[in-house]
C-alpha cells in the first residue's frame, strides 16, 4: 500500500473500539489510507460505518467509552497518536482542522463569532491585528456568501445554514493543510450545499488545502472529490479515483450504492440494499458485507476469510474475494 508518493496524511491500520459491557464495538477496524497534498478525498458509507469515529481519531479526539486500539496516524512524518498533548495542540486547527457533523451546537453559545475566530488565532500565537483578522475573515465570508454582521453575532442569532458556514469559516481561517469535513452539507438546503461545495473546491484550487469529505451522500462526492473511499462496518471496501469508480464500481456494495442514485432522464429500477449492517461487537468471521451481498453463495470463501484491501489497478484498491 505504500507505493504512493509521500502524502500529507497517512493512516495505518487504525482501530478504534467502543467499550461495552460485553464485547467492544469495533467501529473502525484496521483502516489504512493516505491523503495527498491538494486533494479531496471523499469517504462514503452508511450511518454507523465508522466515518465520524475515524475523523475524530485523526485529531485524537476520541473519548471514553471509545478508545484507540492500535494503528498509526502520520501527519508530515509526525505520529499524531504518539506525540504529547502540547505538541498536538499546536498542530490542531493550525495544520489540521475539523468541521464536525452537526453545526447546531458546535459553536460556543456565549461567545461572539468574531471572538471565536480571534481565539484560535491568538491561541496559535499568531499576531494579527483586529483589522487583519477582520479582513481575512471577510475574504472567506465572501466566498461563503456570509453577511458581515455575523462577526458580531452570537451563534443563537444565526440560522442553521449560517452556523454551518461559520464553522467553515473557523475551520479555514488559519489556512490549514488538511481539513476534515464531517457531513458539511447534511443539515443545509440545496442552495447552501452548492455554496459550500464550491467553496471547498475553491480552497483546494487556490490554497492547495487537502480535504477529507465525509458523507453518506455520494452525489456530492461525485461533484468535488478526487478520490473516493467506501467504508462499511468499520472497514474499507473500495478506494480509488472517483471517476473510475463511478463509471465502473467493482465492489458489490459500491455497485449497489451507485445503482441507488436516480439519474435524470433514465427510467430504471432503483435497487436498495436489504438487511442491516452487522453488529460490530460480533462481526461476521469473513467478509463483513457478505450477509447482504448479492453474489454470496452458501459455501463461500467470503464467509470464512476476510478479504484484504488489494490493488486491482493503479490507484484502485478493493477488498473483495471476487477480485483477488
Amino acid at each position: 500500500m505504500s507505493l504512493e508518493e509521500p502524502g500529507l496524511l497517512k493512516v495505518e491500520d487504525l482501530r478504534v473500539y467502543y467499550k461495552t459491557r460485553s464485547n467492544p464495538v469495533r467501529a473502525v477496524d484496521g483502516v489504512s489510507f493516505s491523503v495527498k497534498r491538494g486533494e479531496i478525498l471523499g469517504i462514503v458509507g452508511e450511518s454507523g460505518c465508522g466515518k465520524s469515529t475515524l475523523a475524530n481519531a485523526v485529531l485524537r479526539l476520541i473519548e471514553s467509552p471509545a478508545y484507540i486500539n492500535g494503528g498509526q496516524v502520520f501527519f508530515k512524518d509526525l505520529n499524531l497518536l504518539n506525540i504529547d498533548e502540547e505538541k498536538l495542540n499546536k498542530i490542531r486547527w493550525k495544520e489540521i482542522s475539523l468541521i464536525p457533523q452537526s453545526a447546531m451546537n458546535a459553536l460556543n453559545p456565549v461567545m461572539k463569532i468574531y471572538h471565536q475566530i480571534k481565539e484560535v488565532i491568538t491561541d496559535k500565537k499568531i499576531k494579527f491585528s483586529d483589522k487583519e483578522i477582520k479582513e481575512k475573515s471577510e475574504e472567506i465570508m465572501k466566498r461563503l456568501m456570509l453577511p458581515s454582521y455575523i462577526l458580531n453575532a452570537y451563534p443563537c442569532q444565526l440560522s442553521g445554514g449560517m452556523r454551518q458556514r461559520a464553522l467553515l469559516l473557523l475551520a479555514f481561517i488559519l489556512n490549514p493543510s488538511l481539513v476534515i469535513a464531517d457531513e458539511p452539507t447534511s443539515a443545509v438546503d440545496v442552495v447552501t450545499q452548492r455554496k459550500i461545495l464550491e467553496f471547498l473546491d475553491m480552497q483546494r484550487k487556490d490554497f492547495g488545502t487537502s480535504i477529507i469529505l465525509i458523507t453518506h451522500d455520494i452525489a456530492i462526492v461525485a461533484e468535488v472529490a478526487d478520490r473516493i473511499m467506501v467504508m462499511y462496518a468499520g472497514k474499507i471496501l473500495e478506494m480509488g479515483d472517483v471517476t473510475k469508480i463511478f463509471e465502473n464500481p467493482l465492489h458489490p456494495y459500491t455497485k449497489t450504492l451507485m445503482e441507488s442514485i436516480p439519474i435524470l432522464g433514465v427510467k430504471r429500477e432503483v435497487i436498495g440494499l436489504s438487511g442491516l449492517p452487522p453488529d460490530l461487537r460480533n462481526p461476521p468471521a469473513g467478509c463483513r458485507f457478505n450477509p447482504r451481498c448479492r453474489y454470496s453463495r452458501s459455501t463461500d470463501i467470503c464467509k470464512l476469510k476476510e478479504p484484504e484491501l488489494r490493488y486491482v489497478d493503479n490507484n484502485h484498491l478493493i477488498a473483495c474475494h471476487m477480485y483477488s
Partner: protein, 329 residues
C-alpha cells in the same frame, strides 16, 4: 427578552409585594378580638412597660379599626408607602423604621457577603468536580453536600460550640466588642470581621452544597456538548476550555437561581443571627416574636419580603443582559 418578559416579571414582583402587605394587614385582623389589647394586657401583667392605654388608642386611630376593612387597608398602604411602619411595642416610642434602620446594615453585610461567597465557591467547586473528578475533589464535594443537608442551625450551633466555646477562637456572639476603644479604624474593622466570621461561615458552609450539586450536573451535561469537543479540536488549552467553554456556560444559567434561592438563604440567615445573637434584623425579629411585638414583626417581615423580591427582580431584569441566548430568543 423584550417587553412581555419585563411586564411578566414586574407583575409578579408587584403582586409579591402586594401579597406581603396583604398578609401583614390581614393576619392580626383575622384573629378574633383585638390582639393588641390582649397582648398589651399580658405584657402589663408581666410588668413590661409598653405605653399603656394611650398607645392602644393611638393605634386604634392609626388603623381606624372602626372603619370598614378596605378603607383600613388603603390607610395601611398609604402609611407604608410613606415609610411609616408603625411604632414598636417593646421599644415604645421608637418607630419600627428606626429600629430597622439600626439593624438593617448588619443583616445586609452578613447576608450579601455570605450569599455571593456561596454562589461563587459553590459553582466553581461544582464545575471543577464536573469537569474532572478526582478523589480529592469528590471528597470535598460530598463534604459540602452533607453540610448542606445539615441545615443552617446544625452548622451554626456546631461552629459556635467548636470554635467559640471549646476552642475559643471566635466570640460567642454580637457584631462587635462592647466597651473597648480601638486604636484605629482597621482594628475596628478587624473586630467586626472577627465577630462576623462564624455567622458568615455558617451560612457559606451550608449554602455551598446546593449550588455545587447543580453546577456539577450542569457541567457534566455541558461536557458532552459539541462545542466542547470542537474546543479540543481547536487545540485550546485545558484551562481555556474549562473557563470559557465549560465554566462560562455553567455559570450563566445559574444566575437566575440566585433570585429564587435568595429567599431560602435569607430565612437561614435569620436562624444564624439568632444563634449567634448577631444584631441584624433576624435577631430583632426573633426577640420581637418572643415579645409578640406585632408592629415590629410585621415591619421586619415586610423589609425582608421587599429586600428579597427586589433583589430577585433586579437579577431577573439583568440576566438577559449577560446571557446572549436569552437576549436573542
Amino acid at each position: 427578552m423584550g417587553l412581555p418578559y419585563v411586564i411578566r416579571r414586574s407583575i409578579v414582583y408587584f403582586l409579591s409585594l402586594f401579597g406581603g402587605l396583604l398578609i401583614n394587614f390581614l393576619a392580626p385582623r383575622l384573629v378574633p378580638g383585638n390582639p393588641l389589647q390582649a397582648r398589651l394586657m399580658e405584657l402589663q401583667r408581666m410588668g413590661v412597660r409598653a405605653g399603656g392605654q394611650e398607645f392602644v388608642e393611638k393605634y386604634m386611630r392609626i388603623f381606624g379599626l372602626e372603619q370598614p376593612l378596605h378603607i383600613q387597608f388603603i390607610n395601611y398602604l398609604s402609611s407604608v408607602l410613606q415609610g411609616n411602619l408603625g411604632v414598636s411595642i417593646t421599644r415604645f416610642p421608637t418607630e419600627v423604621r428606626e429600629v430597622i434602620a439600626l439593624h438593617f446594615p448588619w443583616t445586609l453585610g452578613l447576608l450579601y457577603f455570605s450569599y455571593f461567597a456561596c454562589f461563587f465557591i459553590g459553582v466553581l467547586l461544582g464545575a471543577l468536580v464536573g469537569w474532572k473528578s478526582s478523589k480529592m475533589r469528590n471528597a470535598v464535594f460530598m463534604l459540602f453536600i452533607v453540610l448542606s443537608q445539615m441545615q443552617y442551625y446544625t452548622v451554626a450551633m456546631s461552629l459556635l460550640y467548636l470554635f467559640a466555646f471549646l476552642f475559643p477562637i471566635f466570640p460567642t456572639g454580637s457584631a462587635y466588642s462592647l466597651g473597648i476603644t480601638f486604636e484605629s479604624i482597621f482594628h475596628q474593622i478587624a473586630d467586626i470581621a472577627w465577630h462576623a466570621a462564624l455567622p458568615a461561615l455558617s451560612i457559606i458552609l451550608t449554602g455551598v452544597g446546593g449550588w455545587t450539586l447543580a453546577a456539577r450536573g450542569l457541567m457534566v451535561s455541558i461536557k458532552g456538548e459539541d462545542y466542547l469537543m470542537l474546543a479540543k479540536a481547536k487545540g485550546l488549552s485545558e484551562r481555556r476550555r474549562f473557563l470559557y467553554y465549560g465554566l462560562k456556560n455553567t455559570l450563566l444559567p445559574q444566575v437566575t437561581d440566585l433570585a429564587i434561592t435568595m429567599g431560602f438563604v435569607a430565612t437561614g440567615s435569620i436562624l444564624v443571627e439568632v444563634i449567634f445573637r448577631y444584631p441584624g434584623m433576624g435577631y430583632v425579629l426573633y426577640r420581637a416574636i418572643t415579645a409578640l411585638d406585632y408592629p415590629l414583626i410585621q415591619g421586619i417581615a415586610l423589609m425582608y419580603v421587599f429586600g428579597v423580591t427586589t433583589a430577585g427582580f433586579i437579577v431577573d431584569l439583568m440576566y438577559p443582559l449577560i446571557d446572549p441566548r436569552v437576549r436573542h430568543e
